[in-house]
């Protein structure tokens, strides 16, 4: 136990001190890593804890982003209020999907396809909603401030970095305590063998719904961050299947169900993607598509040889719990 806290402590200090040594480019990369780490962790709650494979998670990112964005765009109300609307909407959406799925006994691949269908349906739907900008996108008014305007979530890149760091840390801690709590045990029981869990008297329906709701809520915060960091939203981008896949790459590579897996996975993937681009540029191989081929091959290798993700393997080496 002690070892893990030591490592975590060191990591925390490193992350806090990062901006002092990193240039703006690396800061933006780090922010991106944290974004994927956090969102991956949110997805992990549904998958890793309750065993429900969601392949349409971009739905929550998008709805969250548009909710907070629209409120800011049309009414000038800051993200702290918009955050609650975003969470509420996403939780409602998640509950609807969960209800429809679980009541009708849909699981596994069918559930995954259901989530994809909802995401795609919403994507095309948003393309036709003029109030939200339609396919032309929603552009939030950008105000470059050198000071930290926390109320409106506007400021230098440093602010975004620390916010994302805070979110990721909170998510990590939150999940840690959740896993140790009764909810955590129920979830793991459901994940391992739902029928047995039910036989033991666990209300599987209620707990699955709780996992879905929590995951949706956490992901919606991710969406709100996205809206105010990038300041422009397009339905075909934010709801796309590509984004859904992007979100889950981190946890899958890192290790589903583990606490640190999504964070590790996000770091590895982002750095890998960057590294490949640099290596290819250095070699002078400027063929479009070659980077993604390498990327895909690495993915393939990890999935084939390290099926539980990279992190558990490393954790074993370091002799700490995943």
């Amino acid at each position: 136990m002690k070892k893990e806290f030591v490592y975590l402590g060191i990591l925390a200090v490193l992350m806090l001190a990062l901006p002092a040594v990193a240039g703006p480019y690396w800061l933006s990369v780090a922010t991106l890593i944290l974004y994927f780490a956090y969102t991956g962790q949110a997805w992990n709650v549904m998958m890793g804890f309750a065993g429900q494979l969601s392949l349409g998670h971009s739905l929550y990112v998008g709805v969250g982003a548009y909710a907070a964005g629209a409120i800011f765009f049309h009414y000038g109300i800051g993200p702290w209020a918009g955050l609650w609307v975003a969470m509420l909407l996403c939780v409602a959406l998640g509950l609807v999907i969960g209800f429809l799925a679980f009541r009708f006994g849909i699981s596994g691949v069918y559930f995954a396809l259901l989530t994809i269908a909802f995401a795609e349906f919403t994507r095309i739907g948003f393309d036709h909603l003029d109030w939200l900008g339609g396919p032309g996108g929603m552009f939030l008014k950008v105000a470059q401030r050198d000071t930290w305007d926390v109320l409106n979530f506007r400021g230098p890149p440093l602010m975004y970095y620390y916010s994302m760091l805070l979110l990721t840390a909170l998510a990590f801690l939150g999940c840690y305590f959740l896993l140790k709590s009764r909810a955590g045990y129920y979830w793991q029981a459901i994940r391992e063998n739902e029928e047995a869990a039910q036989a033991l008297g666990i209300n599987t329906f209620r707990w699955k719904m709780a996992a879905v709701a929590l995951s949706a809520a956490m992901t919606s915060i991710s969406g709100v961050f996205f809206a105010f960091y990038y300041n422009n939203l397009f339905p075909h981008e934010i709801f796309s299947m590509n984004r859904s896949i992007e979100l889950i790459l981190g946890p899958v590579i890192g290790g589903i169900g583990t606490l640190f897996g999504p964070i590790f996975g996000a770091a590895v993937l982002t750095l890998l993607s960057d590294g490949i681009t640099e290596a290819l540029a250095a070699l002078g191989w400027e063929i479009p598509g070659i980077k993604q081929v390498f990327y895909g091959l690495v993915l393939l290798a990890v999935v084939m040889f390290l099926p539980h993700g990279i992190w558990p393997a490393i954790a074993k080496r370091l002799k700490i719990r995943a």
Binding site: G23, Y25, G137, F139, K141, V142
Partner: protein
């Protein structure tokens, strides 16, 4: 850690980041060229790159200034656009040029503004980009509104020049960022342009990713309009044209008030004779301009098997964006970002290759008065038929395949 220390740390990192700029008082101007070289925009990105690649040579001859291009591919993805921009700035780019896509342009603009590095947009039509009050973002291209206004006006000229009076049009457009902006523009400008003889009898929007446009064309054909007004992209333009033949729909012509697709090389390759007589009213280069001839020669040297005319819009505007950067550098005599930005603001280039007035940025960083041309596909080549001072052939309307 209190606020003061934070600010100090911030200032320290900013100073550290600024060091490269101070050091780079080298004679070469470093221009970061961000284009979509992979992903769904790859064909256009590569087309733009051709315009960039010939720039250093031409500009050295023209202005006596040395520039170095730093190419980056944002993979038709907005996130990547942002990180690539950051990376280029990190590696010492003094100016950014790109990106063709409005979403990416918005993302890069933010980065440029934040880091105080000038960004010259080659092609992007979303009006909002120059409405944000940015001080470092410049656009030498028409906004969607301008494109529509010029496009519709050219239509009027086309009908006058060919003595035709079409009464009805069916309007088809892609349902994406660009198509929607154009549709809005048309909705706004049509009622004002009373000299146009036609009315739009039906509007049909379609998915740019659709592979099958049977339903859309059936609907359009059923509207029984005189001609087809089309805002499209390359792939759907090809599909539409073929579908029109299959459904035996032969209107007076296909006229675009301003969109890519029908003048691109792939359109001709895929459709052969069927590509004839389609018309696009787009920002274009002036075939008779002095600079055009120079650029054309350089283009042929680098691409002996290709013709500039197929890359007119893409290569032309990309080249001009780089020209703007180089010209500013010549006047500023420094690669310092702020000095460059100020110099760009003072730009007044009259000797240019695209149509319209001189390259001069207004206080929003937008160039006004960029012209459009009526480009018709004649003899398997996009040919400027209007305005008459830039034309190399006469317009043909209605098309020979027209059946009443």
């Amino acid at each position: 850690m209190n606020r003061r220390n934070f600010n100090r740390a911030l200032a320290a990192s900013a100073a550290l980041a600024a060091v490269p700029y101070v050091r780079a008082q080298s004679p070469k101007l470093k221009i970061g060229v961000i284009l979509p070289k992979s992903g769904y925009l790859s064909f256009i990105g590569q087309s733009c790159q051709k315009g960039a690649d010939l720039a250093p040579g031409v500009i050295r001859d023209l202005l006596g200034v040395d520039i170095e291009l730093m190419n980056a591919d944002f993979e038709s993805n907005v996130d990547t656009a942002r990180t690539r921009a950051e990376r280029l700035i990190q590696e010492g780019a003094n100016v950014l040029v790109g990106p063709f896509d409005s979403g990416a342009a918005a993302a890069i603009a933010q980065v440029a503004e934040q880091r105080g590095v000038p960004f010259v947009i080659n092609i992007a039509a979303a009006p909002q980009i120059t409405e944000q009050g940015y001080k470092f973002v410049f656009r030498n291209f028409q906004t969607a509104g301008d494109i529509v206004r010029n496009g519709l006006a050219l239509m009027g000229e086309l009908f006058q020049a060919t003595n035709t009076v079409p009464r009805t049009a069916v309007f088809m457009h892609v349902n994406d960022t660009f198509g929607q902006a154009m549709a809005k523009g048309i909705g706004a400008f049509m009622p004002r342009l009373t000299q146009l003889p036609f009315k739009i009898v039906d509007t049909i929007s379609y998915d740019p990713a659709a592979k099958d446009l049977t339903v859309e064309v059936s609907k359009a054909k059923a509207a029984n309009a005189d001609f087809l007004m089309l805002v499209c992209r390359l792939n759907d333009a090809i599909i539409l044209r073929r579908e029109m033949v299959k459904q035996r729909w032969n209107p007076m012509g296909i006229v675009s008030p301003g969109s890519p697709g029908m003048y691109e090389e792939q359109y001709f390759k895929a459709l052969g004779k069927l590509s004839e007589h389609s018309i696009s009213n787009v920002p274009w280069y002036n075939p008779n301009a002095k600079l055009t001839k120079v650029v054309e020669k350089a283009f042929l040297k680098q691409n002996p098997k290709d013709k500039l005319v197929f890359h007119g819009l893409n290569a032309g505007f990309t080249f001009e964006a780089i020209l703007v950067a180089a010209d500013a550098y010549k006047r500023a005599k420094s690669t310092d970002a702020k000095t460059l930005a100020d110099a760009i603001r003072q730009t007044n280039i009259t000797e240019k290759m695209t149509l319209g007035g001189p390259i001069k940025f207004n206080e929003k960083g937008q160039v006004e008065g960029i012209g459009s041309a009526c480009v018709q596909n004649l003899n398997l080549t996009p040919t400027v038929v209007l305005p008459t001072n830039a034309a190399t052939a006469k317009p043909v309307f209605p098309a020979p395949y027209y059946k009443k």
